[in-house]
Symmetry: C2
Subunit: 360 residues, 2 copies
């Protein structure tokens, strides 16, 4: 922590999320509770209340106009996205969601119809994941509505997949099509989607779902060696895996080609690359796996209806993230993406922040 003088002058916006998380870690200190298997710092905490099951707890807060624009994109969709954001953190641990709490902060002039739609979206997304909303909280919140979802999942002891356990030489695998949600958002702002590719990308933003079944099976069968979701952007979340694992990574950009994304980006007047590596808003899984496990992993995803998966690179011994072009040249990149406490204009060049539903 900096000195007091300095801290008084530094704003949280200047400090950035990473520094703030470190502050909290320092304030918390190491856990002395033997039942806390994995505490502060990963996608979710892992708790061991009994020998039979471990519990996984997470929460995710969304603020109107910062993370979503419900007046433009619908309160039901907001509820669904807010729930999905929390459940995706459980999926990224391999846990099965069981129970949720929802804290709602409301503008006083919010219509009852919008309030109902918000709750329908929350509950529908929980239902779809096999989770039950068991409580929550309502409050006034000033000028912006807010929605904080806490979710508790279960997992067999020892099976939760953390970020810091990737090994050199292992494959880096991603589900779905990173960047489409952000491209869909950009597209929805320039008009009604027309082509199938355009409609697909807009749906990726408005109707995301968490990869619960795949996450659970990857953990249960010990196929994923490290895992996260890419809600902060592919490079940033890959950077988290690498940093926690004490490794680096190389990503082959050719493996990430996505024609629907390219078309949607062009229609929105943006470059696909802006969305691909840095955009958040996707709730896809990113994980490492042993080379020999690839066939099994791909078949599993297919069986669960969660394919296709793509191998996009591999874990390296040395530090740093590298993009590899088709001609084999490597470019080192910074793991930039969405910083939760910086405004859009201050996000890294890969952040594509201005294109996303975050206005401060």
């Amino acid at each position: 922590m900096g000195e007091v003088e300095e801290d008084v002058l530094t704003t949280v916006g200047e400090a950035g999320e990473r520094a703030l998380l470190k502050e909290i870690g320092a304030i918390l200190g190491p856990s002395s509770d033997p039942a806390v298997v994995l505490g502060f710092g990963d996608d979710a905490a892992v708790l061991s209340p009994s020998e039979r099951m471990e519990h996984v707890l997470t929460c995710d807060v969304q603020v109107e106009g910062i993370h979503f624009e419900p007046r433009r994109h619908g309160f039901r969709n907001w509820g669904s996205r807010a729930m999905t954001a929390a459940l995706s953190d459980l999926a990224a641990m391999g846990a099965s969601p069981r129970w949720c709490l929802v804290s709602l902060g409301l503008r006083q002039d919010l219509s009852l119809a919008d309030f109902q739609a918000l709750n329908h979206g929350l509950v529908a997304a929980a239902d779809a994941a096999g989770a039950a909303v068991v409580g929550g909280n309502i409050s006034l919140a000033g000028e912006r509505c807010l929605c904080d979802v806490s979710a508790l999942g279960e997992i067999e002891p020892g099976r939760a997949v953390a970020r810091g356990t990737a090994e050199t030489g292992q494959l880096i695998i991603v589900t779905g099509y990173p960047g489409r949600a952000a491209a869909g958002l950009a597209l929805s702002r320039v008009g009604e989607p027309e082509t199938d590719a355009q409609k697909q990308t807009v749906r990726a933003y408005l109707e995301p779902r968490a990869r619960i079944a795949l996450g659970r099976e990857l953990a249960r069968r010990r196929l994923a060696t490290a895992m996260t979701d890419i809600s902060d952007g592919l490079l940033r979340d890959l950077g988290n895996i690498c940093e926690a694992s004490g490794r680096g990574a190389v990503v082959r950009t050719s493996c990430l080609e996505d024609h629907a994304l390219a078309e949607a980006a062009a229609s929105a007047g943006c470059r696909a690359e802006e969305f691909l590596l840095g955009a958040s808003d996707d709730y896809e899984l990113l994980f490492s796996a042993a080379r020999g496990a690839w066939a099994t992993v791909a078949e599993l995803a297919e069986d669960l209806g969660e394919g296709p998966l793509r191998v996009i690179g591999e874990i390296r011994e040395g530090p740093g993230l590298f993009l590899e072009k088709e001609d084999g040249t490597l470019t080192r990149v910074e793991p930039e993406g969405w910083d939760a406490v910086k405004t859009a204009g201050e996000q890294g060049s890969e952040g594509a922040g201005e294109q996303r539903g975050r206005e401060s």
Copy 2:
């Protein structure tokens, strides 16, 4: 639920918290999960992941300028109050707090020093209650900071104390001194506290603590038959117990006399009654108990250093809340108090809303 046309025209502020909770209940429908012992609608949910222990989950969100004014009363105090609000819900079920998640929404211009103070307050209050902060979330939040604490507690199966189990003729008992926190807030706005009574009431606002040990023992020894905290105000929360139990209550106002409160109220230019029955901001426990249990309950509180308790009335067969004066006359009152989604000016006459730290 009303018809769609009507819902579009109704704001959540007009509908009020109670109606909104009913809306959510209707949206949720009855729980079909046998492990949900007590779901939506009480202070917290009761879950039964194993035969050995039940889990109790709750959350409580606070917004800057609505629930607390950290720039006036300190960010550390805010963190402590926000944590206490959630832990108090666990205490009111009789559960032992174990793990917490904290979702923070931040103004970008929040100083790092204030951010640290907020987190220190949160962690200190959790530590004091034997709970560990095991995760959370940071985000931008626009113009107001927000702090949502989710807490998970444990309890032996079958011991959680709900609201709806008070029986006719049982005593109504309250801890501490209801109204002091709100009086302390009012007082802190008119100047520095001078007398001991004044200092005591300001401390009641700035340094509340949840009645964890007492709540746990009342539940463990089955001494409380129904229990809640009075964070929405004494009458409103007693009304919740009565409504859920299908009973009424009579409260003897003479039993609630509090000289420190009276002095603080006078210094703040307010009537003590405004704070006593309707003010929130207190995290005291309100519970019913069999007449024959009083001596045991009082001794228990004394032993735990959580006394003195006061018997303030009794549960009646018929519906309605009544105040009984010393001459024996009864006045029926409405269970008004703090409605989480109405602004201060719209709160009931007992709400004392304008005196509290809630500005919309």
